[in-house]
């Protein structure tokens, strides 16, 4: 499959490369020429990256087709080995004081799940045990046993346990205690504090609301005024910052947008400005940058690419056939609509009902009016959101992004990195793979149909597991957990 962008990529390096061995050892390119004089730090840094990336693309472009195909393959076995070794390497140190182990767990476990690779039972057990010991007696998860609970580690732990799946893993989560912890972290302003005495920012809001949603404990109290806080973080640029006044940033933009969707307030954002900011974050290197005039980084494949994927599903401009806007009243009435599949599909195509509150899984509810707490409603915001279909292709350039991930971030020996010249790590492995799956599924017309061959750059075997786009958990695992926690809340399957 030709990659037109590689051909049009502009770089100042030599146009002819020596022939290289097929799939052979990574070559060491000669040092790039120095940047032109009279340039600023930003320009020089950008120049350097463009040189490196350009070198990779031009080398790729002159490879014969078979070698190109190989270069575009997801090196599953090597990634799995890198990840599994990492997970095993964590195990002995599960007793030490490093605060980021739940995060590393999540990055590795999620990556393996994206690659469709199960984890061996013994390792799984030790992870569940470890994470259980990270639970604070009064709620939430800390970085390690005995450490104070923290929203970020709670998010990582919960997502890890959901990804592992199974009743042992899921029942190890003390939902009531987590709920208490979330309520303690909730601030009068509407935002959340990361931990006792910690910062209040958009990431804290996201980790709290995402956890609440997946555990089916999201209620009015937790959701109250979160929207106000996040709104105050949308900047003049259009993107979202960590705190009011700070710079628009990809990580916080994903967090803010996902949170607004989860609490059904996405339409309060200036979506056209947001879209305009996000799409311009994809640069000539084909990957995404985190902020204006900053450098490309593989992890933004998820933060920015994922934000685009969310935006695509929002149909933000009220383009409903009847010209009606998406008022809450019209949304509620469709909650009680019949739930057979064909109607659900019709609903997906009817933009008026394309709101987070439409519940295509009505068959799982007791019939009749909503008697549950708000958590049932807001849980639905998440459950069905992944089923919404993007219209007319992806907002961002999906094949270009896949190209960056596979050729510039992927290391053939396993793992992914920020950009050429940087080292691999589990964080980038997680978010490059997450970005890759977002790309692969970004143009799916129907939630249940798999991507078409031309939506997947490289061989079709590159296809990863789909994720839930709001929580970044493999979809089938999310669905299993969702079932589990609904039942745990007392809702009966019909």
């Amino acid at each position: 499959m030709p990659i037109g962008i590689a051909a049009s990529f502009r770089f100042a390096g030599p146009r002819k490369e020596k022939k290289k061995k097929l799939g052979g050892a990574r070559m060491e390119p000669p040092p790039p020429p120095p940047p032109p004089s009279g340039t600023t730090v930003t320009q020089r840094d950008q120049w350097t990256v463009e040189q490196e990336v350009g070198r990779i693309y031009s080398f790729f472009a002159q490879l014969p087709p078979a070698a190109q195909s190989f270069a575009l393959e997801v090196q599953r076995d090597n990634h799995i080995e890198y990840l599994t070794r990492g997970l095993r390497g964590l195990a002995p140190s599960f007793g030490s004081l490093d605060a980021s182990r739940p995060w590393i767990c999540y990055w590795i476990i999620h990556s393996l799940a994206l690659l469709g690779e199960p984890i061996d039972a013994e390792l799984e057990e030790s992870i569940i045990d470890f994470l259980s010991r990270c639970q604070d007696p009064s709620g939430g998860y800390g970085g390690g046993p005995g450490q104070l609970p923290h929203l970020a580690t709670t998010y990582a732990a919960v997502n890890s346990l959901i990804t592992l799946g199974g009743s042992r893993s899921l029942s190890s989560i003390n939902r009531d205690k987590v709920h208490n912890f979330l309520r303690q972290m909730k601030q009068p302003s509407g935002g959340f504090r990361m931990h006792d005495g910690g910062e209040i920012d958009v990431r804290a809001c996201y980790t709290a609301i995402s956890v609440a949603s997946t555990l089916n404990i999201l209620d009015d109290e937790l959701a109250e005024k979160v929207g106000d806080f996040i709104l105050s973080c949308q900047t003049y640029e259009g993107g979202i910052a960590g705190e009011p006044g700070s710079e628009a940033h990809g990580g916080y933009t994903f967090c803010g947008l996902a949170t607004m969707i989860l609490i059904n307030e996405a339409d309060r954002l200036d979506l056209s400005r947001l879209i305009d900011w996000v799409v311009f974050r994809q640069g000539v290197e084909c990957g995404f940058q985190g902020r204006v005039n900053k450098l490309v980084d593989g992890c933004y494949s998820f933060w920015q690419g994922g934000a685009c994927a969310l935006l695509q599903k929002l149909h933000p401009f009220g383009l409903s056939e009847g010209g009606e806007d998406e008022s809450t009243d019209s949304i509620d009435s469709s909650l009680y609509a019949a739930s057979n599949v064909s109607e659900q599909e019709e609903q997906e195509n009817n933009l008026e009902s394309a709101s987070p509150q439409v519940d295509g899984t009505c068959q799982f509810k007791q019939g009749g009016p909503q008697s549950a707490s708000c958590s049932e409603n807001t849980g639905n915001a998440s459950y069905n959101f992944h089923e919404r279909c993007a219209e007319g292709g992806s907002l961002f350039n999906s094949s270009a992004l896949q190209q960056y991930i596979l050729l510039c971030s992927q290391l053939p020996e396993g793992g992914f990195r920020d950009k050429p010249g940087k080292f691999r790590d589990f964080y980038h492995t997680c978010y490059c793979l997450s970005g890759l799956t977002v790309c692969q599924y970004s143009q799916s017309k129907h939630a249940d149909s798999p991507p078409l061959p031309w939506d997947v750059v490289g061989p079709y075997s590159n296809l990863l597991e789909p994720i839930h786009p709001l929580h970044n958990v493999v979809l089938s695992k999310y669905q299993e957990a969702n079932e589990f926690f609904r039942v745990a809340s007392g809702f009966v399957h019909l």
């Binding site: 600023t40 006044g245 710079e247 628009a248 799409v279 005039n293 383009l319």
Partner: protein, 226 residues
């Protein structure tokens, strides 16, 4: 010093940190910016210091200095916006808008491809569209860029936004846009044709965002039908 902070908290913090706290904290972040002028947490901290402890007096100058060193430093542009909107010494966005439009346009003219001042310029209008629509400096800046026939995607994007607000471009601007078209899809008659022209030029000139420009175009026809 005026501010939104809980006075009790501010007094508590100032007492804890001592009377030199503001200048010490500002100096601390300044040192970080010498090494990494875009350090996100340092900028957050600096903003907190300004709001909690003061020190606004020199901040606009500091932004100007950073932009002098690197006009592409988006964190400095963001700080500039923060200062002009929040500094108790400057009178707020409306008071500052006029001079800031000049400042942004000067930066644009120096580097057409620099996204920061373009976004800053758009941010200055803050949804008060009248001033934005009638500011001939903005129109002239866009025109200058179009005539240069290179690095014009931000100029076209800005014009597209203006057209969405019922901007009535003069003939010179219309001609400049038309001259950038390659395909002959007829004369750009109505403004909606002009907007569509812009979208198709951009889909060609900015292929990374081809889908986005196509989608913008479809939004235009939807709006027209209403």
């Amino acid at each position: 010093m005026k501010g939104e902070e809980n006075r009790h908290h501010r007094r508590w913090v100032a007492e804890k940190l001592g009377p030199d706290a503001a200048s010490r904290e500002l100096e601390f972040t300044r040192k970080i910016f010498c090494l990494d002028a875009k350090n996100y947490h340092a900028w957050s901290h600096r903003q907190w210091v300004l709001q909690a402890l003061g020190g606004w007096e020199d901040e606009l100058d500091y932004c100007a200095q950073l932009l002098e060193e690197d006009v592409f430093n988006n964190s400095a542009w963001n700080q500039r916006y923060f200062v002009i909107t929040k500094s108790p010494f400057l009178g707020g966005l409306r008071a500052m808008r006029d001079s800031e439009v000049d400042y942004a346009i000067e930066a644009i003219d120096a580097n057409l491809e620099n996204e920061s001042p373009w976004r800053y310029l758009r941010g200055l209008n803050n949804d008060e569209n009248e001033a934005w629509l009638n500011d001939s400096r903005v129109h002239s800046a866009c025109l200058r860029v179009l005539k240069a026939k290179r690095n014009f995607k931000f100029a076209l994007s800005t014009l597209l936004d203006l057209l969405g607000l019922s901007f009535k471009p003069n003939q010179e601007i219309k001609d400049a846009i038309t001259s950038l078209r390659t395909s002959d899809s007829g004369e750009a008659g109505s403004d909606s044709d002009l907007a569509n022209s812009i979208c198709s030029i951009l889909a060609r000139e900015d292929p990374m965002r081809a889908n986005y420009w196509t989608w913008r175009s479809s939004k235009l026809s939807q709006a027209a039908e209403v």
